[in-house]
Symmetry: C2
Subunit: 304 residues, 2 copies
């Protein structure tokens, strides 16, 4: 089975891009033409189904528009889960659509649970649950974000799936204002997030691809560039998933010093600044998303 880390490396090299596009659909920010097309369906098919169909069409449009420029997409499960079973079905369709465009899917789910429950979450995300007739497909994602608070036995159910070609990104130093509250607490002279980085290093050591990167990566935000570099120092060969770019405030300078290996070793996520770019200038939403993603790619070339 090909390593997730190698597939991502090859995409970064081929596209000369580290852009990951976050898919965070919000009904209040859907383009008017999609709202018109789907609102009608609400009375006949039910509101959840109509919104889910609207999100699916929007996401498909964005994915096709950014496919040449992005190396991965990162759907935020929460926005789909709001609309129940139809929302979940739309999320699966979004994963399939990204695969049709040969894009890696990093599912942003921030799950974390132990033993049988952790393994069940991994099967929900990656597939493989036992059915009556065969294995269930799950969401079919390539990688997922996971939360480390429960400890190593909450991460291994996910990292065990690296042997199936899957990737894992462990929350390490996140990009939000409240991140410091626990993550920067000092313990034994080091911030908690660095102890988490140690754990990522340990879990990833046995899952390294041909490009030298580990399939077990870390989420480290661009909004705290010192912490981002400190995570890189602990994890010289891990993929970093870097949120906080664009709307959250960080620019290319925040990435200085984090390049590693033959394919940069990181991807930078932007969500709203790309998918809702149409609201900035009134362009058609796919045209606006393609342009915003292209600008981001160019901005990030040589940033690190």
């Amino acid at each position: 089975m090909e390593h997730f880390s190698d597939r991502l490396a090859e995409a970064v090299i081929a596209k000369r891009s580290v852009v990951c596009v976050g898919i965070d659909p919000d009904l209040a920010r859907m383009p008017p033409e999609l709202v018109r097309a789907h609102r009608e369906r609400a009375s006949a098919e039910g509101d959840e189904r109509a919104v889910a169909a609207c999100f699916e069409e929007f996401s498909r449009g964005v994915i096709a528009a950014v496919a040449d420029v992005a190396v991965a997409i990162k759907p935020q499960a929460a926005f789909f889960e709001q609309y129940g079973a139809p929302g979940w079905a739309a999320l699966r369709a979004v994963v399939d659509c990204a695969h049709e465009h040969d894009l890696a899917v990093i599912l942003d789910v921030k799950r974390g649970d132990i033993a049988a429950t952790g393994a069940a979450y991994a099967r929900a995300i990656f597939g493989g649950a036992a059915g009556f007739a065969g294995a269930a497909p799950g969401l079919g994602a390539d990688a997922a974000t996971v939360s480390p608070y429960l400890g190593d036995d909450s991460l291994t159910p996910f990292t065990d799936r690296c042997t199936d070609g899957k990737g894992v990104f462990v929350l390490t130093r996140t990009s939000n204002p409240g991140a410091a509250l626990l993550q920067e607490r000092e313990s034994n002279g080091r911030a908690l997030y660095l102890h988490v980085a140690d754990l990522v290093a340990r879990l990833g050591a046995t899952h390294v691809g041909a490009h030298g990167y580990s399939d077990v990566g870390a989420v480290a935000g661009a909004t705290a560039p010192e912490a981002l570099r400190a995570v890189r120092a602990v994890l010289p060969n891990a993929w970093l998933l870097v949120p906080g770019y664009g709307v959250q405030g960080a620019g290319p300078a925040a990435l200085a010093g984090i390049s590693a290996g033959d394919a940069e070793g990181y991807v930078v996520n932007a969500s709203r600044s790309i998918i809702f770019a149409w609201q900035q200038n009134g362009e058609e939403y796919r045209v606006a998303a393609a342009r915003a993603a292209g600008e981001m790619r160019d901005e990030l070339r040589g940033a690190s």
Copy 2:
């Protein structure tokens, strides 16, 4: 809006029980009569739908069987999510079934995310997402488990819903073997989980019901009784959700000293030892679950 904490207190007082039954369905452990009834449907309706229907029937049976004895049920979302959209629909049906039996539903989802995403998870769990025609119902749970690693801004999207009568249980000191790795790290002379307990106290201070309990509670495992008592010391009026009883190894002695207020102030969860009790002695699964739940209730009376 009535407080979640008051509804739980009144159930504990009325039933003289602190039993919470975990709903963790596993296809390999379904009673043979249910497997026979649902396996047939797999070819016609699809495997995911057939398994989801089997889980739903099983869960309904268990809920009805334990309704007199339990004060809450705790469905583990992972087991349902494995089976895609039909699994999600079955999870919602399980929540509705518990409400028909007047049982509180603590959804074990261990979510945690910030800002708009955190709020979307809360709407997925509690309802309220904007639709074309009105608000989406979400899963309709009464309370949810949340993970604190991202900090206070990952918890407030959930605790903000306490004003709608919802409850939140923050992972504090969990019951798994790996829990100590991060949660017991010392920082400023105290274990990390006690700093999390401080945060729970702060977030809960403005959400206190007539019984004196906060709607913002903590998950603290029975497998680490010293830590459990330390959490209680920091949180004298919070509901504690105590896992680790039964299959995970802890007995009633682990609960000594944690009673607080007029309704004990804690619920103890057991999952497999109740829902799969039929495998121990060959009884019909509902009969076995009712008996196991009743024994647990009796065992726990006066334990604290």
